[in-house]
Structures are given as C-alpha cells and as structure tokens.
C-alpha cells in the first residue's frame, strides 16, 4: 500500500486575514444598475479581485460602513468555506494544483520509492529513468555531504563530462521526442539539461533546509519523500512554494 500525497503550497496553508473596505447598503432592486455603474466608473478592486461586490442580507439600513473582506483569494475548498462567511469571494482553484498522477507515472514513482525506502538515499530521475543515485556521506567526516547534495553533484559531473565529450549543444527542453534506444537517447541533444531542471527527486528522508534550497537552485520538478522531518525545508518553511523564490517544485509526502 503506497500513498503519494501532495504537500500543500504556502498559499493553501494561509490563515484568514482581512482588511476593511467601504460598503454601502442598497436595495435589491438597485443591484444591476449599481453593478453596472461600478464596472464603468469605480476603480477596479485591485489586489482583491476575488472579493465580490455584493453581500446579500435582510436588514437594510442604507448606511455607509466599513466591512472586513478576506485579503487573499482562497486556494482550497476549506479556505473558501470559511472565508466566504466573512464576505462573498470567488474560488478558482489553480489548475497547477489539480494534479492527478497517471498510472504509468505512479508505477515509476512506486518503483523508485521501493528502492530508497530502506536506505538513507536520494535517487534522481528524468523522463521516468533513474540517472543518479547517492547515499548520505556525512559519516566520512563531511557534515554537508547529505544524499541530496551528493546526488546533485553527480548529475553535475555527468553534465560536465557530456559537454567535454562535445556531443551536445545546450537546449532549453526537448524539442522532439527522445530516441527509443537507450544509447541513442543518452547521446541525443534533447537529453541535455540545465542543472537538474524538471527532474524527479526521491528521498528517504525529507530534505533539510540546505538540501531543499539546493533543489530549488537546481530547478528540480518534483520531490517525493518518505520520512517527514519537523526541521526539514518543506515542513518548516514550505520551501517548495516560497513566493519570494524564483523557482518552485511540487512536493509529495509518501508512505509505503
């Protein structure tokens, strides 16, 4: 039995925050006329586009007031259900967050998790093919030789070697399908990469803060880990989805 659960991004964990906006009570009959006027003449609700113009209720007093509205748009159903009680908001779940793993992909992920589950190690894969494996190397006296750091270094060394061999030209991403034959594929210019861009990373333990930032710097695509860690980069800082950073990846907490 294997579970693969996506770790929520920073926004999905956001608690409700509100700010006050000016509101005025109107009668229901005026609604369409006033909405029309607002669309044409009033400034846009900049930064709070998710906030709806109208809140329906029954005691009309015709007063201008200040009312709190949610500052951030809701990212989850739970946030939506709670926040809409404060003031009506629209809810458009991000398509990038509605990821369903395809069967073939899932089989590959499970296979990789099987491999790492009993060893403290990190495996990196590209296009559903494992390209590097590394174990924790801190026992040798180097406190920074975590498995993820070692694995990133391996991928880098391979890249240096391939460029030295002179067969490859830098390419942003595959322009055409990869050749079927493994040997041909290895040599094809499409296989070439910028750092670890788009790679899948499988880690026995949740990577620490150093390793998570190393994965951000290396531009990985997805991270799968088995053992959660309170002081890990994902649990402690949501480092897969920090808005301040220039790269994000999808993180999955898995169990076997």
């Amino acid at each position: 039995m294997c579970t693969i659960d996506r770790v929520p991004i920073e926004e999905e964990l956001q608690k409700l925050t509100t700010e006050d906006v000016f509101t005025a009570e109107i009668t229901a009959k005026q609604t369409s006329e006033i909405l029309h006027f607002a669309a044409k003449h009033l400034p846009k609700l900049e930064g709070i586009e998710h906030v709806k113009r109208i809140l329906q209720h029954h005691n009309v007093s015709l007063e201008i007031a200040r009312s709190p509205v949610p500052v951030k748009p809701p990212y989850t159903k739970e946030q939506f259900d709670e926040w809409k009680l404060i003031w009506p908001v629209s809810f458009r779940p991000l398509t990038k967050l509605r990821i369903e793993l395809e069967d073939e992909d899932r089989r590959f992920i499970v296979k990789c998790l099987e491999e790492i589950k009993d060893a403290k190690m990190v495996v990196m894969a590209k296009h559903s093919e494992v390209i590097a494996r590394a174990r924790d190397g801190t026992a040798g006296g180097h406190p920074l030789k975590h498995a993820a750091m070692c694995c990133i270094a391996l991928v880098a060394d391979m890249e240096v070697e391939r460029r030295r061999a002179g067969v490859l030209v830098p390419l942003k991403r595959p322009a055409s399908p990869l050749p079927q034959d493994p040997e041909e594929r290895e040599k094809s210019p499409q296989a070439m990469g910028y750092l670890c861009e788009g790679m899948d990373v499988f880690s026995t333990k949740e990577p620490c803060v150093m390793c998570c930032m190393a994965l951000v710097h290396s531009r990985i695509g997805r991270l799968f880990f088995l053992e959660e860690s309170k002081s890990g980069g994902i649990s402690y800082y949501s480092m897969h989805s920090l808005k301040a950073l220039n790269h994000h990846f999808t993180a999955y907490k898995c169990s076997m």
């Binding site: 920074l144 750092l195 620490c208 951000v216 290396s218 402690y236």
Partner: protein
C-alpha cells in the same frame, strides 16, 4: 534591513579609548572583506556570479580558506563561494566543529538560504557580509535561517561591510548576457549604473 553598523560604530566611539579598539576591529573587518571582494572579482573574470568569501580563524586573525562562486564551471547550482571554501577546510585542513566555532565568514553577499543552513551545520562562528540578497538571502532577507529552530547551531550575522563594492561587481556581471541561463536575455543596451554607489574608482 541591514544596519550600517560599520560607519555607525566608528562615528559613535570617536576619540575614546574604546574607539581605538573598535576601529581596529572595524579596520580588520574591512581588510577581510577586501580579500573576499578579490575572490568575487576573480569570479567575475571567470564569468561566474561575482560572490567571494574568506574564512578567518578568529583567535589568530588568520585567513584559513577562501572561495568564489563556481556554478557555471561545475554545472552545479550549489557550488557557491561558501560551499567551495568549506570543502577546502574540511578536505585539506580536516577542520572540526570546534575549529569552525572559532572561525568567522566574510562574504561579499548575504549567504543564500542553502549556505545559511550549511553554515549552521558546520557550526560557523560569526558571519559578516556585504550587500543583502533580496532573491535568496538566508540571513534575514528572504528567511532568517541563522536564527531559526532548524538543524545545526545559531550564529550572528551582520551586513553592510563594503556593500557598494559588492553591488558594483554584481551589476558588472548582470549587465553581461548570461549564456548559461535557460533563456538568455539580450542586454546590449544596458548601461552600468554607479551614481548611487559609494565606491572608490568608479
């Protein structure tokens, strides 16, 4: 965000006995930072993001290691100046945790989140940096890893040392086209801006 404690310090104590001492420390810090800037300069000459650092053994005031960015050369996005310098200390000097605790880092740019965490793991003494790092900084700009409750030990980090020199080097680099980037940008029309910086020989 970063107190310019350097100039502040020397002004506040002028004329007193304390002043001589703190000015001496201040002068020493600037000397160390100039060494770090030399490393950054070397990075720039090698088409690397110009960040450089030195590690200073505090009790003896001796430089024990140095490093500069080598991410483009190694095709490894984690080969930052600090990581390179730490590797030298561990491999060649067999540096121990106790020795790291007596050793300070001088780095031209605020350590990124990865390096800030690595410095906790090795147990560095103190960290002095030049300019802040709004994109990746791990000692206050993006995250405050140096004072967080994560693996390793806390340390003091202080910025502002020769920061304009550090910024100037970065600008000199980013005005060039980074052909290693996934989508290199054309920058032929860019002009190097220096008016807002307080540096010698602009």
């Amino acid at each position: 965000m970063f107190t310019d404690s350097v100039s502040q310090e020397s002004q506040d104590f002028q004329g007193s006995q304390e002043c001589l001492e703190s000015q001496e420390t201040h002068a020493q810090r600037l000397t160390h930072m100039r060494q770090a800037l030399n490393m950054a300069q070397e990075a720039l000459q090698n088409n690397e993001v110009p960040v450089g650092c030195v590690f200073i053994h505090h009790p003896t005031n001796k430089q024990v290691s140095q490093g500069r960015n080598e991410t483009n050369l190694s095709k490894n996005g984690t080969r930052h100046a600090e990581m390179v310098a730490i590797d030298l200390m561990i491999h060649h000097l067999k540096y121990t945790r106790e020795q790291f605790a007596e050793t300070d880092l001088y780095v031209t740019v605020e350590p990124c989140i990865m390096c800030a965490a690595a410095l906790r793991l090795v147990g560095v003494g103190r960290v002095f940096f030049g300019c802040g790092n709004e994109r990746f900084g791990g000692c206050g700009s993006v995250l405050g890893v140096h004072q967080a409750v994560v693996d390793g030990s806390e340390y003091v980090a202080e910025g502002g040392f020769l920061k304009d020199e550090a910024v100037l080097l970065l600008r000199q680099f980013y005005i060039k086209e980074n052909t290693e980037a996934p989508q290199p940008r054309k920058k032929a029309n860019r002009v190097l801006k220096t008016e807002d910086l307080n540096v010698e020989d602009k």
